[in-house]
């Protein structure tokens, strides 16, 4: 048996580094190399720490502190035990669910149409339009809908002219279903954007293999297409849920707070509308939102991981 000296060892590195135990200078060298390779992402990391990490830590800290600065469960208890804050949460969750499921389903069908279309311009136009509309929200969107579907909006007038009056049939742009209606405007394109790559991942050979084994188009979708896409669709709906749950500006501009959802309640507290002794309630609300969004993101990542394994 040959015994290699330290000098001969193939694991010896200039500067004395070896695989078994590293000396101080070697460790320093490795650290420098590591820093050098990760240098490009350091600015982004710093940015994330400043704008996300620090505020999140502050929220978590103050969510469990009384006005006097002591640890307490009271803030969370206040928002979960009932009253306006719990009602706000329930409305937010309901709004997020509605604006995740309906756009999720509609967006899936649109993405299917895009992916199966042989018409290249149609594909390009719908994809580009979805990219723009998914980013369109806030005051501009609220104003557009007020101008179109408000009580004296242009579209409302047109509908009135042909004998349809949505407002007399219970439609109200400034209530829950009105807000949900407006959210669809950016949630549907968002769904199209997210789910279209999953459709593109469906291999034509799977359909041919199914056909070859005797399956009709319907049975292919039932046994293969839909099951393969389901995790991606559900994962995308998780994202829509998060988007609908956290949206603030559109609802605020549209309803001026008459539809009480959690982001608007947090906004109100930030503007100084605080009940005496509930200074840290806004932190507790934000903390609860973070928890819900965290669950949403984890659900999305898990489902997406499953799909990516199938569709790679």
């Amino acid at each position: 048996m040959t015994v290699l000296s330290d000098l001969d060892s193939p694991t010896s590195l200039p500067g004395g580094a070896s695989s078994s135990g590293r000396s101080g200078p070697a460790r320093t060298g490795a650290l420098v190399r590591g820093l050098r390779t990760s240098a490009p992402v350091l600015p982004f990391l710093a940015y994330v720490i400043v704008v996300l990490g620090v505020p999140t830590a502050a929220i978590v800290n103050y969510a469990f502190r009384s006005n006097a600065g002591h640890f307490t469960w009271q803030n969370l208890h206040s928002i979960l035990s009932g009253g306006q804050y719990r009602a706000g949460f329930e409305t937010s969750l309901k709004l997020a669910l509605v604006t995740a499921i309906v756009p999720g389903v509609l967006g899936t069908f649109i993405a299917y149409a895009i992916s199966t279309s042989q018409h290249a311009p149609f594909k390009r136009i719908t994809s580009a339009t979805s990219g723009v509309l998914a980013q369109f929200g806030g005051v501009n969107l609220a104003f557009m809908f007020i101008a179109s579907f408000g009580f004296v909006g242009v579209a409302t007038k047109w509908l009135n002219a042909i004998g349809v009056d949505p407002w007399s049939h219970g439609f109200d742009l400034y209530k829950f279903w009105g807000v949900a209606f407006v959210y669809m405007y950016f949630q549907i394109p968002l769904m199209v954007l997210i789910i279209t790559p999953a459709f593109a991942g469906l291999r034509p050979a799977w359909r041919e293999a199914a056909e070859n084994l005797g399956a009709s188009r319907w049975r292919y979708w039932r046994h293969v297409g839909v099951p393969v896409l389901t995790p991606a669709i559900l994962g995308s709906m998780f994202l829509l849920f998060g988007s609908g749950f956290s949206a603030y500006a559109t609802a605020e501009a549209l309803t001026a707070g008459t539809v009480a959802i959690t982001p608007i309640q947090i906004g109100a507290i930030l503007q100084g509308n605080v009940i005496a002794g509930e200074n840290n309630i806004a932190y507790a609300l934000a903390f609860a939102m973070i928890v819900i969004l965290l669950v949403t993101v984890i659900g999305y990542v898990l489902l997406r991981r499953r799909t990516s394994r199938w569709l790679r």
Binding site: W206, E208, N212, H223, V224, R309, L311
Partner: protein, 368 residues
């Protein structure tokens, strides 16, 4: 001019395997994609239980022919007959053909057993018997321990075996193999090649096998159909294809050939100083400049210090060694027994002799 020739489909296996496979006929198939003609009057008869390989360079139409047979493409002209019935307009899902795809194409949401049982499920077979049959087929292809694994948990070779079992599960009248081994490494390819051939013979299924790998085609098929530009160049048993290529294209495409300028003298050609009979129909031999297509085993070399040839390279192939010899600006490949190859060092002067009984002649390649 090339002359397509076709051996009778009553080849080797046909008689004894006729019980289960169906006869297949491509009748004058034409398929065009815009200005491109993928199939140009393709005609081919395949006997029940026979394995025919469609072999040719990329774009020769072999995959199109298979897809027309599978029902994924419609011919512009011509018919496809299976068991004597025209199926040209029968949808793919009603053709009862099993197909193995190049990219495996296993359903990713199903485990191996469910993939194999899929065709039976579509045929409304009950869960217990279809699972039993799927398990049995997976055992047949050597995957008994992997029945509950999903495609992403299987290697390429294992996935292709599952695909084969899935295609066989529906007891197809015709088995279609679309370059099923091309994505696998050499060792797995060789194993699976033998396995597919053994299963095909055991189950007696008429099989059409598309490949661009001539070694695969020659080692597996009862007959090989060489295609070029959408047409059949020659259909024959592998040995016939190799030893008696009907056209210069087949001679050049199948196996290794050297091209040597020749002078025609009646029904003979003068090759490297020796007159050798011209193979095939003399009426189809072109006029003008000609070249002979010579296999490495059609030639022999003898060491001669005053010879006209010079050894330019040597490749050890096992029992034989392939020697490159430069003669008057032409490089010839000659197979010699490895035991005698030691004396053929690089730069050795040699004489090259033609030992073939006859030769195939063609116009020089640049002129074709």
């Amino acid at each position: 001019m090339t002359v397509a020739t076709t051996d009778s489909p009553t080849a080797t296996n046909a008689g004894r395997l006729a019980a289960r496979g169906a006869p297949v006929v491509f009748d004058n198939l034409t398929r065009r994609y815009g200005a491109t003609t993928a199939l140009d009057g393709l005609s081919l008869e395949i006997a029940p239980g026979e394995l025919v390989a469609l072999l040719g360079p990329s774009g020769c139409g072999k995959t199109t022919a298979l897809r027309v047979l599978a029902g994924f493409e419609r011919p512009d002209l011509g018919r496809v007959l299976v068991d004597g019935i025209d199926v040209s307009h029968v949808p793919a899902q009603r053709r009862d053909m099993g197909m193995v795809f190049q990219s495996y194409s296993l359903f990713p949401n199903m485990n191996a057993r469910d993939n194999v049982a899929f065709g039976l499920q579509i045929r409304h077979q009950r869960a217990a018997p279809r699972r039993a049959k799927a398990t049995e087929l997976l055992e047949l292809v050597g995957l008994a321990e992997h029945v509950t694994k999903y495609p992403h948990q299987l290697s390429g070779g294992q996935q292709q075996r599952v695909a084969l079992a899935r295609a066989l599960a529906i007891e197809p009248r015709v088995l279609l193999l679309d370059e099923p081994l091309s994505a696998l490494d050499a060792k797995v390819r060789a194993e699976l090649r033998d396995q597919i051939r053994a299963l095909q013979q055991r189950l007696a299924i008429t099989t059409v096998f598309v490949t661009h790998d001539q070694e695969e085609a020659m080692s597996m098929a009862d007959r090989v159909c060489v295609m070029f530009q959408g047409r059949v160049e020659q259909v024959a048993a592998p040995s016939v294809l190799y030893c008696q290529p009907a056209t210069p294209f087949v001679g050049q495409f199948v196996g290794v050939s050297s091209r040597v300028p020749v002078t025609r003298r009646g029904d003979r050609a003068e090759v490297l100083g020796r007159e050798v009979p011209i193979r095939g129909d003399l009426n189809s031999v072109p006029t003008g400049d000609l070249e002979a297509l010579l296999r490495p085993e059609d030639l022999d070399v003898v060491v001669n210090p005053n010879g006209l040839g010079v050894v330019t390279h040597r490749s050890f192939l096992g029992a034989t060694t392939r020697v490159g010899v430069g003669v008057a600006g032409t490089n010839l490949l000659v197979d010699v027994r490895s035991a005698h190859a030691d004396e053929l060092d690089l730069g050795t002067r040699v004489d090259v002799r033609v030992i073939a009984r006859d030769v195939l002649v063609a116009t020089p390649r640049r002129a074709t």
